[in-house]
């Protein structure tokens, strides 16, 4: 028999378990994110601060090095909650920039040519689809927030004198929790806003705007109604307060003026997240609903 006929044949091999399909989405999501040079640039930029903080920790723990550098003042920097608070804040706000670039790449390509009906006709539910994108985004953001922060903490623990670690374990927990809350929120926000808009650049702008515009509105509300509750809309302020409290740092002057209870802050974050889920529910569908 020398002629090979290639006709249709059924697949008889092994199938992967249904739950692992989510990870197919994660894998392809990563590949989509990292195929862009700008992602690499942003990622690198987001890790640069870590180097400075690393240097700072080194200097703080090595008087010799300090002398060499010429920073003789004792109050140079003490590695305390304030230091880690600054670290956390910088990393987290850079994470926002990265989210605004990455999140649209995850969703908009799928929605641009209406790929959802075909994708959802496979054994993956809408929830699985969103979960896959969420995990991809969350993992990427983790790599530039709590992972470097905790690593820096470990370095500090290693470099600092005995007993420092024991007294400051709360810092590690605070770093982890603070970063986690923020990137969980960013992930769901990024995905929801990207699914709402058709063009990537617009989605990028909207994600950034979504953080800062309510801040402005909040300021207005507070000013007009003479209440502090308007500031709940001001994410930079509320997140600062939250991180401050998680790390046990001394409240800043702004923090003393605007004293919002932690529960209110957490509640407002949850509410926003629920709103995002509702947005996703409306947009991630196998079929477009047209009214009228």
């Amino acid at each position: 028999m020398s002629i090979y006929k290639h006709s249709y044949r059924a697949y008889t091999g092994r199938l992967t378990p249904v739950w692992s399909r989510v990870f197919v989405l994660v894998r392809y999501g990563f590949s989509e994110i990292w195929s862009s040079k700008i992602t690499i640039v942003l990622f690198t930029l987001s890790l640069l601060p870590s180097i400075f903080f690393l240097f700072g920790i080194y200097l703080a723990n090595n008087p010799l090095a300090r002398a060499l550098v010429g920073a003789k003042n004792v109050g140079f920097t003490s590695i305390d909650a304030g230091y880690f608070l600054a670290m956390l804040q910088i990393h987290c706000w850079l994470a926002l920039v990265l989210t605004s670039w990455i999140a649209p790449r995850l969703i908009t390509f799928d929605l641009a040519d209406n790929a959802l009906p075909v994708m959802l006709s496979h054994p993956i539910s809408r929830f699985g689809y969103v979960a896959g994108k969420f995990i991809a985004l969350f993992s990427s953001l983790s790599a530039i927030t709590w992972v470097p922060c905790l690593l820096l903490f470990c370095y500090q623990a290693y470099a600092s004198p005995q007993g420092w670690t024991g007294n400051h374990l709360r810092l590690a927990a605070g770093l982890f929790a603070g970063a986690l809350i923020w990137i969980l929120f960013l992930s769901i926000l990024g995905i929801a806003l990207s699914s709402w808009v058709k063009w990537r650049m617009v989605a990028t702008g909207i994600i950034i705007a979504a953080i800062f515009i309510p801040a402005g509105v909040g300021g207005v509300v507070s000013g007009v109604l003479r209440t502090k509750w308007g500031m709940l809309l001001n994410l930079p302020i509320t997140m600062s307060l939250l991180w401050q409290r998680l790390l046990g740092a001394a409240p800043s002057s702004l923090g003393r003026r605007v004293d919002l209870p932690t529960s209110a802050i957490v509640f407002s974050l949850l509410l926003a997240a629920v709103g995002c889920v509702a947005m996703l529910n409306a947009r991630i569908r196998a079929r477009e609903m047209v009214r009228g």
């Binding site: 399909r21 209406n114 054994p123």
Partner: protein, 313 residues
């Protein structure tokens, strides 16, 4: 083996009842889905895929309930939607491979099968280009490739020849017939072109206003239509018609020398030729009436006022 079982299926979208009281069992190798616009064909397909839940009644695919076994059903179904549905910035191979992995194939077999499927539908070097640079015909083929790649048991094709030029259309029909004849896959084809359905399907489900208007087996219908004839003649058609009537046939005469007739029991085609030869009439075309599908469709739609009496294949 039943492919699709519907039992009192009712589907509501918002406040509208789109499908109502659908009951029937579909067993054919290739099932045609027909109906006027808005009859509920897309909704039925979406319900089978689990995109809509029935508000009453059930729908089963290969015995699995669409409400409870969505993942299993979707794993066995390949869907080729009517509209554009792909990820534009991926290459053809990557897209088909992605879909294969979503369907459960491990990464390596997914790549192998993706290439196999693309070869089978006839997409050559284009498979390495981004899908959004494809022509319409190529996009249709890529959609078919992704539907076939995981070896589904049921292939759902929604307007597979949409927008294709005549040659590509023939190729698509040929491909569909090959898949059907291979025997491993059942097909559900929704189309507005009666001819496409006639050339590929052996069972037909006709919907009207969300209700079942007809469900029949085409093979049976075709074999029972043997004595209906259509002729095209050149020459003295009128006299010829009279002559045929004399034989006992029911005859209807149309412009352009077209004649439709029913042959009674003992009359054969030869007798027609004898009369034609006597009168110097040439019979240029003689067809057993192939339009069982048109008949079935028209009957299912009921007689509306002002509708033309002939719907051609």
């Amino acid at each position: 083996m039943e492919v699709i079982e519907l039992d009192g299926l009712q589907v509501r979208l918002g406040s509208r009842t789109v499908l109502d009281g659908l009951t029937g069992v579909l067993k054919g190798r290739a099932i045609g889905l027909l109906g006027p616009n808005g009859a509920g064909k897309s909704t039925l397909i979406n319900t089978l895929l689990g995109f809509h839940d029935p508000s009453q009644g059930t729908a089963r695919v290969f015995g699995l309930d669409t409400r409870e076994h969505k993942a299993e059903i979707r794993g066995r179904v390949g869907y080729m939607p009517e509209n554009d549905s792909f990820i534009g910035n991926m290459s053809g191979v990557r897209f088909v491979r992605y879909m294969a992995e979503l369907a459960g194939l491990p990464a390596k077999p997914a790549l192998e099968r993706a290439h196999e499927a693309l070869f089978y539908v006839g997409l050559g070097e284009v498979r390495y280009r981004s899908v959004n640079t494809y022509s319409l015909g190529m996009k249709q083929l890529v959609k078919l490739a992704q539907a076939l790649v995981h070896g589904p048991k049921l292939l759902i094709l929604d307007e597979p020849t949409n927008g294709l030029d005549p040659i590509a259309r023939q190729r698509m029909i040929q491909l569909v017939r090959e898949v059907r004849d291979d025997g491993e896959v059942r097909l559900l084809i929704s189309s507005h072109l009666l001819r496409d359905i006639d050339e590929t399907c052996d069972e037909v489900l006709i919907l009207k206003n969300g209700k079942l208007a007809a469900l029949c087996n085409l093979d049976e219908e075709r074999s029972s239509n043997r004595s209906f004839l259509e002729l095209e003649t050149v020459g003295a058609t009128e006299r010829f018609t009279v002559g045929i009537r004399g034989l006992g046939c029911e005859v209807a005469c149309f412009p352009g020398g077209r004649i439709k007739l029913v042959l009674p029991e003992r009359v054969e085609s030869r007798d027609l030729y004898v009369i034609a030869a006597e009168q110097g009439v040439q019979i240029r075309r003689m067809n057993r009436r192939r339009d069982s599908l048109e008949d079935i469709f028209l009957k299912a739609m009921d007689s509306d006022v002002g509708r033309p009496t002939d719907v051609y294949l």
